[in-house]
Subunit: 226 residues, 2 copies
């Protein structure tokens, strides 16, 4: 699966330290594409990974894995995700444009395999729900399906699509119009212990991780060192 270029980074050891490796932008642009995708997707650290549920104008449901979610603001509650170029990721994007609605559903340890399988390129007239074995859940708050098996899920209304001309991707921004929690409640200060719900995060293009709380910290204030 990997070609000769896969081994290229080992040549990049600069000898500054035995344990240090450095990579320039020309190294990166010269790599085989899967190698580069894994490297760059790991370089940016652990990522949110969730399932986006949509429906088209004919009622055909769609489900896809997205690991490019980003918090944009809390008031109003705005969440963004990066949609790849339309040709590479057409269905979720088209459905959101058509209906103005979508759901985002946490992935838990119990169904990572099913969630990951929804990233396969199924035709538009096939529902990933049925293909991967997850259950669409319809609520009055949104025409888009939730994932029944997900314990932390929310519905969004489309607010804005911002084209990113640098690489033909899009920042899709939605407003949280509804949130639903199962077997988990907010703590006294609104914090959700999502690790206890078994929510996962991702790294690279295909690595899924559980997370364990190290600590919460107080709101940081300027303090004198002296």
């Amino acid at each position: 699966m990997q070609n000769d270029q896969t081994n290229q980074p080992l040549k990049c050891l600069k000898g500054i330290s035995f344990h240090m490796a450095s990579f320039t932008s020309s190294d990166i642009s010269g790599w085989e594409r899967f190698y580069r995708a894994n490297f760059i997707n790991s370089l940016t650290g652990f990522k949110s990974v969730s399932l986006i549920g949509t429906v088209n104008g004919e009622g055909q449901t769609n489900l896809g894995v997205f690991s490019s979610l980003v918090h944009i603001g809390s008031n109003p509650a705005l969440v963004g995700y990066i949609n790849r170029p339309v040709a590479a990721a057409p269905h979720t994007f088209a459905n959101i444009q058509a209906t103005g609605h979508y759901t985002i559903n946490h992935i838990h340890t119990a169904f990572i395999d099913k969630a990951h399988q929804s990233s396969a390129k199924y035709p538009a007239d096939v529902s990933e729900f049925e293909e991967v074995g997850l259950t669409p859940q319809f609520l009055d708050v949104s025409p888009a399906p939730f994932v029944l098996e997900s314990r932390i899920k929310y519905a969004l209304s489309l607010e804005q699509i911002i084209p990113i001309s640098l690489n033909d991707t899009f920042l899709v921004i939605g407003k949280v119009i509804y949130a639903e929690l199962t077997d988990i409640l907010p703590m006294e200060d609104g914090f959700l212990p999502i690790d206890q719900a078994g929510s996962v995060c991702s790294n690279g293009v295909d690595g899924y991780y559980s997370a364990e709380l190290i600590s919460r910290f107080e709101y940081a204030k300027v303090k004198s060192k002296r």
Copy 2:
């Protein structure tokens, strides 16, 4: 610290199920602001959290924690982050605009407390590096300082700043021009085992987590269920 509204979500239990709680957009907009910030920042799942290093025109270094990083593309290697409204988060943003350069540095378990402290609102003429006890590291590839203590770090050149008028934030997009790894190497396929470097992720506004690999999955292909 919390006011009476803190308990409001408990009233939102709709009785659909003893273990289920639901929240509408009017519930969310009515919450006390810290409660809402924690809730919305948890709702979107685990997040990348890293330190962004910058320098201003006079050589004054700056360091800040950002948990709104997002992968935009691998070829070219583009990484985005959401900058809050300028009044709320001025220094990093101004420095990136002035110099066109910044670094992003993973936070590891060994220095979470120092990293979190860099989120305090220090004046522009104070270096968070010195205040929190992290070490600026200068390399020829960028005028911006890296964090010496970080084992996974990269330098970016500013590509585009996209204003998000919905809430006066900005999507800041940079191109990866250099990456440096210490005591960690890419795997055969480019994947970085960032958990082994002690990189952390975040949840809410102040929770830091370690992560443990559950599994990597093969590239998902359409398969018949039958």
